[in-house]
């Protein structure tokens, strides 16, 4: 009799433990999805480095095809420059390549410059494999150092007068678009936009309390 009760008790325990395990796993997955959604909002700006509104560092460099290219400083043609830092070994960067190709085709006064560093041969293979010949492609470590690039892919938007308008880590098409959007609105990052909105809300609430 007791033996039978024990068998039943243990069987019930098994089922309950498995069900609990499944529930906890589902919860952990939901937390993971939430993390994906909230981090980062728009292009993530890493702490330190250059500030939007400052003059972009000026560098005189050569592209891989041997042409001279000036980064930073006022541009005679009035075009904005989007500097995109990437590397042949970064898989997130590869996902962005179709996006920047469509950006290049749509024109709108934007010159896209790709920047990388490291083994030159690997860079040439990368350019060939992904058909990046139409872009000015710079291989220079000093460029990444000058712009304080820590993580890839990293985008920097410089306006025609040579002022840095927006910058950040760009993991998706939305992040890249947020850089261009932030540049147009005169905000450094989407984070700054969100902070401003929040400040406005707080100010409105304070005002309501005072009157």
């Amino acid at each position: 009799m007791t033996n039978e009760a024990l068998v039943i008790s243990i069987s019930v325990l098994w089922v309950v433990v498995l069900a609990l395990g499944a529930v906890v796993l589902a919860l952990a997955r939901q937390i993971g999805v939430l993390h994906e959604r909230i981090s980062p909002v728009g292009a993530l700006l890493l702490a330190g480095g250059l500030k939007a509104g400052e003059a972009a560092p000026r560098l005189q460099l050569k592209t891989v095809s041997g042409q001279d290219i000036a980064i930073g400083g006022a541009r005679a043609d009035g075009r904005r420059v989007l500097l995109l830092f990437l590397s042949p070994t970064c898989s997130v960067c590869k996902l962005l390549l179709p996006v920047i190709e469509s950006l290049r085709r749509s024109e709108n006064g934007l010159t896209i410059v790709l920047a990388s560093d490291g083994d030159l041969q690997a860079q040439h293979r990368f350019i060939e494999r992904h058909g990046l010949e139409a872009f000015p492609y710079v291989v220079a470590a000093e460029l990444g150092v000058a712009y304080h690039v820590g993580k890839l892919p990293y985008a920097v938007l410089i306006d025609a007068t040579g002022v840095l308008r927006a910058q950040g880590l760009v993991n998706t098409r939305e992040h890249l678009e947020s850089i261009l959007e932030a540049g147009e609105r005169g905000l450094a990052t989407v984070q700054e936009f969100l902070r401003q909105e929040q400040d406005k809300r707080i100010a409105a609430r304070e005002e309501g309390r005072l009157t």
């Binding site: 098994w14 906890v24 796993l25 981090s39 898989s91 690997a122």
Partner: protein, 182 residues
């Protein structure tokens, strides 16, 4: 003389088989992505990336099958322990290089999981499981209830394994989020 209960041994054996089956399945479902992940570890020369990818998937599949095969009762856990130890060393090297932001390739391309010390602890725990199943088992007759214990025990532990993997990935993301807010 070390000897453990056969039920414990079977549960751990089943757990390791499930862990390796899941690992091989994730890699097979995104071979290209796994090749890129492997490249990011920067330990394998580019020319060997594809052969290495194929070898890893083949070894993981072979370990899964042979763990359940009684004839390979010590060989399979030994190979499994070596594989886990090599992964732990690869993760440790990249952590020391400061390349913690690369994807670990643990749960397939769908779940991004950065490297962390927690992964090394996870692998050491699994290596200990490998060692436990190489031990001799106590000879005792197995009842029907034992079959249930083995089945539910290994599935339950596997759920816990997957949950801890998710939580490890989440804790890294949470840290990034907090440091970004400050």
């Amino acid at each position: 003389m070390n000897a453990i209960d056969p039920v414990i041994s079977h549960i751990l054996r089943g757990l390791l088989a499930l862990v390796f089956a899941a690992a091989a399945y994730h890699k097979l479902s995104g071979l290209r992505a796994f090749r890129d992940t492997l490249a990011n570890y920067q330990l394998v020369p580019e020319i060997l990336l594809w052969p290495m990818t194929a070898a890893i998937v083949a070894i993981e599949s072979a370990v899964t099958v042979s763990l359940l095969w009684p004839a390979a009762s010590t060989a399979a856990p030994t190979v499994a322990a070596c594989v886990l130890a090599i992964y732990a060393v690869a993760i440790a090297i990249n952590l020391l290089r400061g390349r913690s932001s690369i994807d670990c390739g643990c749960s397939g391309p769908a779940v991004r999981q950065s490297l962390s010390a927690g992964l090394i602890v996870r692998n050491i725990t699994l290596v200990v499981c490998c060692w436990l199943i190489t031990l001799d088992t106590v000879a005792r007759p197995l009842a029907g209830l034992d079959a249930g214990t083995v089945l539910f025990g290994m599935v339950g532990l596997f759920l816990i394994y997957m949950t801890s993997n998710r939580l490890l990935a989440g804790s890294v993301q949470l840290r990034e989020l907090i440091s970004h807010d400050q």
